[in-house]
Every structure is written in structure tokens, then in C-alpha cells.
């Protein structure tokens, strides 16, 4: 993955829009519109991005009921893949009801950045072990075959 995690991207984009004075729903719609245009322009979206965008669109669709009922959305229905996404949608749901959410969004962003750092560190730490398998099973035998193959062939021909 070379791009930025979509949840972090969404948080940063929403924070900016809300600070400018846009409503929570408008901010989310703008962000989704941007992502859709990015995908349409040919910038390939990872499976993770598409999955999160789907969840966000579902949240947006269901949030239309929030204004009417005045009750926060039951985020568990969205079946978010991670607890961070669920937290984000809970905060946004509160924001749609008119509560101040910027401090909570900033806290969540700090949490997410810390978790992404941990994920990256875990990935880097696991790389040497993961790379050992193709190295031992594929590359090392290929070197042996290349070196020893002609020698073995000459040896067999000499024996004959």
C-alpha cells in the first residue's frame, strides 16, 4: 500500500471541511464525491479504499433518518470492519445531531495515526521472516540449478 489509509484521509478531509463551516453531512458528501472522481479519473483504488467508501456511503444513506428521528444512528448495523471506523461513524452521527465533534475527531485521528504506525512497524518487523520462504524455496534452488546444472551435465557425459 503506497497511499494513505482511507479512514485517516477521510478524517483529515472532514476536519478541514467542518472547520471551514460545512455541515457534517455536506463534508462527508464532498469527500465521497472527491474519492469517486479520483476513481473515475483512473487513479486505482485499493480494495481497502473501496470497502471503506462503501461503508461511508451506507452511513450517509442511513444518516438521513437521524435528522428526522433526532436519535443517533445505530452504527452496529453498518457492520464496520474495525472499531476505528465504528468510532468515526458514531462521532459523525453525533455531529449530524448538532453536537460539537471536532475535539473528538482530533483525538480519534491521534489514535488512528498511532495505530497505523504500529501496523507499519509490525509489517516491517515481519518482512525478513516472510521473505525467507520465497528465498529458500525459489531463489536459492534457482541459483543452485544454474550453477550445478551444466557441471552435472558435463560430469554425466564424461562418465558415459
Amino acid at each position: 500500500m503506497v497511499g494513505v489509509n482511507p479512514v485517516l484521509r477521510c478524517l483529515m478531509g472532514l476536519e478541514e471541511s467542518i472547520v471551514r463551516g460545512d455541515s457534517v453531512r455536506d463534508s462527508l458528501m464532498q469527500w465521497l464525491d472527491l474519492e469517486t472522481r479520483k476513481a473515475a479519473s483512473g487513479e486505482s483504488a485499493a480494495a481497502l479504499d473501496r470497502e471503506f467508501i462503501k461503508e461511508a456511503m451506507e452511513f450517509l444513506r442511513r444518516s438521513e433518518d437521524v435528522d428526522q428521528t433526532g436519535h443517533p444512528l445505530d452504527v452496529s448495523d453498518l457492520r464496520c470492519r474495525t472499531v476505528y471506523r465504528e468510532s468515526l461513524f458514531i462521532i459523525l452521527s453525533d455531529g449530524i445531531l448538532g453536537n460539537a465533534i471536532l475535539p473528538r475527531m482530533r483525538e480519534l485521528r491521534t489514535e488512528i495515526e498511532a495505530q497505523l504506525e504500529l501496523d507499519l512497524k509490525a509489517h516491517v518487523d515481519s518482512l525478513p521472516l516472510k521473505m525467507l520462504v520465497p528465498l529458500l524455496l525459489f531463489m536459492f534452488p534457482s541459483f543452485l540449478i544454474l550453477l550445478l546444472g551444466p557441471i552435472t551435465r558435463n560430469f554425466v557425459e564424461a562418465l558415459r
Partner: protein
């Protein structure tokens, strides 16, 4: 029959050449590649074609066609790669540009004047592109979608500059916020790339060693003796390389 086929191939080549010339003109008119650079690329292509025709006499029509078309196709490909590289370089220089822009604005200049000044200070390979963006921000009479660059990210940069330009106040605050977001994205992108960079560097070194070993084997034992081993070891090596490159990319995100 054969001459009819050759005429059809020639006609298709001519259409291809005209399309390539049109694309090259577009690259120059969009100021992605300067006229001088395009002239150098095309001159280089013609020099390669002439050299190949002098050194290797074509024996038939198709060999002649390949010797003529290949350098031209490579030249157009090189121009597009240069354009792509330039666009990416412009995106990566955004952080630096925003910092300089904010400093100029704090000296008392307006956004459009500061942007004009700062874009002229950027390094030569990306200066033209930035100047084009700066002019689109403030001096374009038709601030509409058609004047946006074709690259999605550059279009977004231009839209954001135009939005901030229209603000009556807090322009520096908005620029600072934008810069903070760019920096966070860049940090995470760089960390992801660095995680893979070490693995890729190791695999490239292994590929180099393998290539040298293959050349040594052919030189020492002859091609006939090495061919069989090569047919088995090469796919095995490439499979290992593929798994390393693909496996290194997949990070398990818990967010």
C-alpha cells in the same frame, strides 16, 4: 498480395505517426514538456533511426519498418514518461511551495502575487507547470473545468488554490491547514514505501547476481550446456521475485 499488405502497414504507420505528432504537440501546448525538450527527444529518435539504418542494413520491409518505428515509439513513450514524472514532481513539491508562499504572504503580499513570485523560484524541471497553475489561479478569464490540468491531482491542487484565492480572509490559515494535511499524507506514504524499499532493493541485488551468474554460466559452459538449467531456474527465480514484490506490498491494516 504481399505488397498490398505492406501498403496497409505503411498506411497504419503513417496514421500512427500523425497521432504521435499530435500527442507530442499536446504535451508541448499543455506545457508539460517544453518545445526545446521535445525537439531534443525527437532529434535523438531520428539520430537512433539513422544510426541503426547505417549500422544494420535492413534485409526486408519489416526489418526496415521496425528499425524506423521503434526509436519513434520509444521517443513518444519517453515524452509521456517525462510528463508523468513531471506531474508527480509537481505534487511532491507542493509542501515546499506552500511554505514559501506563506512566507511571502506574511511579508504583506496577496496570494496571487506571492504565488507568481514563488512559482518562478521553483526548480527548472517543474517551474513551467507551476507557472501554468499560478496563472490559472489568478489570471484565467474562464475559471471553469476545461482550464484544469488533465492530471487529477494537479486539478485538485488548482481547485484548492482557487478556493483559497476567493476567501476574503484567513488565507494563510487555510494554506497552513492544507500544508499540514499534505505533510501527514506524505509521512505515511513515505513510511509505507520505505517498508517495501529494503525488500525491493534486496531482490534487485539478487536479480543482478542471478543475471551475472547466468552470463558466467553461458560464457564458461556454452549456451547448449546451460540452456536446460536456464529453462528451469529462470521461471523459479522469477516466481520467487514476484512473491517477494507482491508479499512486501501487503500490509495488514487494523484501521
Amino acid at each position: 498480395m504481399r505488397s498490398v499488405f505492406e501498403i496497409i502497414v505503411l498506411a497504419c504507420s503513417l496514421v500512427g505517426l500523425m497521432s504521435a505528432a499530435h500527442l507530442a504537440t499536446l504535451l508541448v501546448s499543455d506545457r508539460v514538456v517544453s518545445a526545446l525538450e521535445m525537439a531534443k527527444i525527437v532529434t535523438g529518435a531520428f539520430a537512433m533511426t539513422s544510426l541503426s539504418l547505417i549500422l544494420i542494413r535492413p534485409r526486408g520491409f519489416f526489418q526496415f519498418w521496425i528499425q524506423v518505428e521503434t526509436p519513434l515509439a520509444l521517443a513518444i513513450g519517453a515524452a509521456f514518461l517525462l510528463a508523468k514524472y513531471r506531474d508527480r514532481a509537481v505534487e511532491e513539491s507542493l509542501d515546499e511551495l506552500l511554505s514559501r508562499l506563506m512566507m511571502r504572504m506574511k511579508e504583506g503580499r496577496s496570494l496571487s502575487i506571492a504565488l507568481e513570485l514563488v512559482t518562478h523560484e521553483m526548480r527548472s524541471s517543474i517551474r513551467l507547470r507551476w507557472i501554468e497553475i499560478a496563472r490559472s489561479v489568478s489570471f484565467s478569464p474562464q475559471k471553469n473545468e476545461s482550464s484544469l490540468p488533465k492530471s487529477f491531482k494537479l486539478g485538485e491542487i488548482l481547485r484548492e488554490f482557487r478556493r483559497i484565492d476567493l476567501l476574503s480572509r484567513s488565507q494563510i490559515v487555510e494554506l497552513d491547514r492544507w500544508r499540514s494535511r499534505i505533510r501527514t499524507e506524505r509521512i505515511f506514504r513515505r513510511r509505507s514505501v520505505q517498508a517495501m524499499a529494503q525488500v525491493r532493493a534486496q531482490s534487485l541485488i539478487l536479480a543482478t547476481i542471478y543475471t551475472l551468474l547466468a552470463l558466467f554460466s553461458v560464457a564458461a559452459f556454452g549456451w547448449n550446456a546451460t540452456r536446460g538449467s536456464f529453462q528451469i531456474s529462470c521461471p523459479l527465480f522469477l516466481a520467487g521475485l514476484f512473491i517477494i514484490w507482491r508479499g512486501g506490498r501487503r500490509v495488514k491494516w487494523s484501521v
